[in-house]
């Protein structure tokens, strides 16, 4: 009886079946910046990284970017924020200028983003897709395939980062 209830509850919670394993090591990822430079995700180890995959046209991404900008100042040296636009015709420079973003905003292909998130290519993604990676390169939080608003909010995300920092300070 209780097992049936658990199964029923799991079926009713959207995305419960599609939970990909967290924590897991972050796969390598190359972010192409407008300057022609490219950044490897592995080069950012040693700091907590908030990596957001966005569409420059999505309103939620625009709002979340403002939250990320605030966080990057709040946690300055302890946190690295990166955004990757993967919509067609994305202009990350114009996007960063429009919202006053000081962290790097790069581009990538949709296929690469799917591969990084562990979602089959071609499946629809809700944006922004937010990934929080600890200083050892382990993914500690990741949006559901259709998006997780909790990971974009100015209330929750700082608490999550603080929890990660606290854990990293522990012996």
């Amino acid at each position: 009886m209780s097992r049936a209830l658990v199964l029923l509850a799991a079926a009713l919670i959207p995305g419960a079946w599609a939970q990909s394993p967290v924590p897991r090591p972050a796969p390598e990822f190359r972010i192409a910046e407008l300057s022609g430079r490219s950044t490897l995700l592995s080069s950012l180890r040693g700091r907590i990284t908030v990596l957001a995959f966005i569409s420059t046209e999505c309103v939620h991404c625009q709002r979340a970017s403002v939250v990320f900008e605030r966080l990057s100042h709040e946690f300055s040296a302890k946190l690295q924020v990166l955004e990757v636009a993967f919509n067609e015709g994305a202009d990350p420079a114009a996007f960063a200028r429009r919202f006053g973003l000081t962290f790097p905003v790069g581009t990538s292909s949709s296929a690469e983003v799917h591969r990084f998130l562990g979602i089959p290519a071609g499946e629809r993604l809700g944006t922004p897709q937010v990934v929080v990676i600890d200083s050892k390169g382990i993914i500690r939080a990741q949006s559901e395939r259709l998006g997780t608003p909790l990971l974009q909010t100015p209330e929750y995300l700082p608490s999550l980062i603080r929890a990660l920092l606290k854990r990293e300070l522990m012996p």
């Binding site: 967290v22 939080a141 997780t148 929750y156 608490s159």
Partner: protein, 142 residues
Amino acid sequence: MIDTSLVVSPFPGIFFHLKQTFWLYGWPFLIGFLTIAGYQIVGRVVILGAVKWPTVFCLASLVSMTSLFGWVTMVRRVEMIPFYGCGAGLASAVMSRIYAITMPVHPRLGVRTPKVIWRGNKEDIKRLQEVLRGSRSVSDPG
């Protein structure tokens, strides 16, 4: 998906979910309620005929602006329809229990404020009928 081994304070999450629940379900309910109740109140005040036209104008404008503001700010998804409907239904049910809405002058503020006369309030209904009868006999002397 968040690593369950992380000790994150539950309050920001709870606050976020409360806020989200309000905007997703509470707000359509409230707008449904305010739209129906507001238009019915304006209708009844107009029918009463004892209120000056600027007051009617302001009340009607306020109600339609509230309704439109709600529609603009509401998350429009299929799931919100029952909540909007329940708000509208509750407003209709509440309004059906109201006998009249009058606009007496507030004793302290000195301005006209709405006063609800419920169907069960026999005393106020009788008083209102007497006032209306009196004003009719003054306006129709012949």
